[in-house]
Symmetry: C2
Subunit: 316 residues, 2 copies
Amino acid sequence: MALITDKKVVVLVGGVGGAKLALGLQQTIAPENLTIIVNTADDFWHYGLRICPDIDTVLYTLSGRVNPQFGWGVADDSTITLDSLRTLGEDPWFTLGDKDMATHLLRTHMLRQGHTLTEIVAHLATQMNIQPNILPMTDAEVATVVNTVEYGKLDFQEYFVKHRWQPTLKDLSFEGIENAMLSTQAQAALADADMILFGPSNPWLSIAPILAVNGMRSALLARPVPRVAVTPIIAGKAIKGPAAKIMGELGYEVSAQTVADYYGDMINGFVYDQRDTPLKSHGLKTVAFDTMMKTSEDKRRLTNNILAWLDKLEAI
Amino acid sequence: MALITDKKVVVLVGGVGGAKLALGLQQTIAPENLTIIVNTADDFWHYGLRICPDIDTVLYTLSGRVNPQFGWGVADDSTITLDSLRTLGEDPWFTLGDKDMATHLLRTHMLRQGHTLTEIVAHLATQMNIQPNILPMTDAEVATVVNTVEYGKLDFQEYFVKHRWQPTLKDLSFEGIENAMLSTQAQAALADADMILFGPSNPWLSIAPILAVNGMRSALLARPVPRVAVTPIIAGKAIKGPAAKIMGELGYEVSAQTVADYYGDMINGFVYDQRDTPLKSHGLKTVAFDTMMKTSEDKRRLTNNILAWLDKLEAI
């Protein structure tokens, strides 16, 4: 199968699931043609450091540094500093590995020097020998706040890590989103894209904040190209994380269909899993593949399938 | 020898040398009667973290955590984060151990939360099971700037660590000192002190900034008690670090006499080394002891000697 790899692809991603698709794309597409726009609404300040969990997951995944067991963090990392914090009476619920720590120190240092997050991510990617273009969704600070039945409002990492996404979600808000502008780099990448993918990330926690950045929706709608979401739901279950749980708590049916409907006119195509029943398309182009990505080969195969399908779609 | 250990002692210190005397005092005096006021003009921001080298040296020394080989840093520490920073293209010339890092993270976190450095040091000391009262010289940010012949103005740690105090010193300034107030805690400790010691720290780099804090000189002069400096110079040489080199560069004779003269009316007593010739006292009470502190026993012996002498002085 000869892929047309000179097409410019932009993919919107959150953490682990999106990073896997990005890795598949990195292995398939010429690096200069691949742009990965990453959710930053999970970012937070922790012990004086700026932590960007989704960006780091993408950086570590694409550079081959990622801990293969978790899908996040650095492989073979230790927690000497974290253990020392415990001896100082702290209860550091968010894991900061000692190797991982270097990323946070350098990022915080560069932020304090006045660099934008876009510049910092580009620098980190270069230092990690990553060739595709990784962009934060915005340079502004945005913070997901999770309103829960049990605890009221929680900062995202408190909800996600400290409480292991067990509290019942009432609603979500993205603090600071009103000041978050799409960066010129992200605008340019979208304006130039031949295909736009929505990674199999959590629609409400990872993709929604990206779509909520000022200028994002109009930049997407302005592109008469395939804008295709990859399902994070297979046979009524989330591949990973709280997507299914959240859908239920928000009153939705837990299905790929719900995700497709949620994205609405932002997308014009949808990749669902072959284990699922066909979607009611409502004018969407849809296709079923095996969307599980456990091995490197899975990632490559899914990416190849999607690109071949999009290529065929475009030719129609 | 029965020591009167119910006397309240305040000691002014910089880093390694002062910490050694503080350790000797900790082993001799009831903890509630010992206050250690520490230089903070060496403090700096590094990779987004607030680093307080002298305070940490005192904390690590008094808690038994200190690296015995260097006299600073934590024993048996590693540099995994620092090594990872190097893989990200950085050249981190200031050593940050992985255990040590926890102190910087917690301090930075508490500063960002709005705590004063005095509160933070008290918290760290408590967590490290240190009983004497450790106080930063001020809660304000002060930064020693070293004007050098070779490089012009250098930040202190650049001069001291990066350039290993080899550049030739022209003059020194303490940026921010005009806004640095003596804390109420330091004021109270001084107002209540029965004896005030100046540690064998670098007079120009460590003790001078403490004396330059607003309110410090008048608080000292107001106390009609022994105010006694311990020499950092033995037989024309510094025990450690650049004290002798700096004295030469500033045009002084390298001697205990110069140190005594430099402190002027801030002190009324001076402990010089028994290897040296007696001081011209100019009204100062002087005494010669073996002031080298290599072993624990050395520290205890010197402390005992000083306290016994002061006790006798007071009785006169």
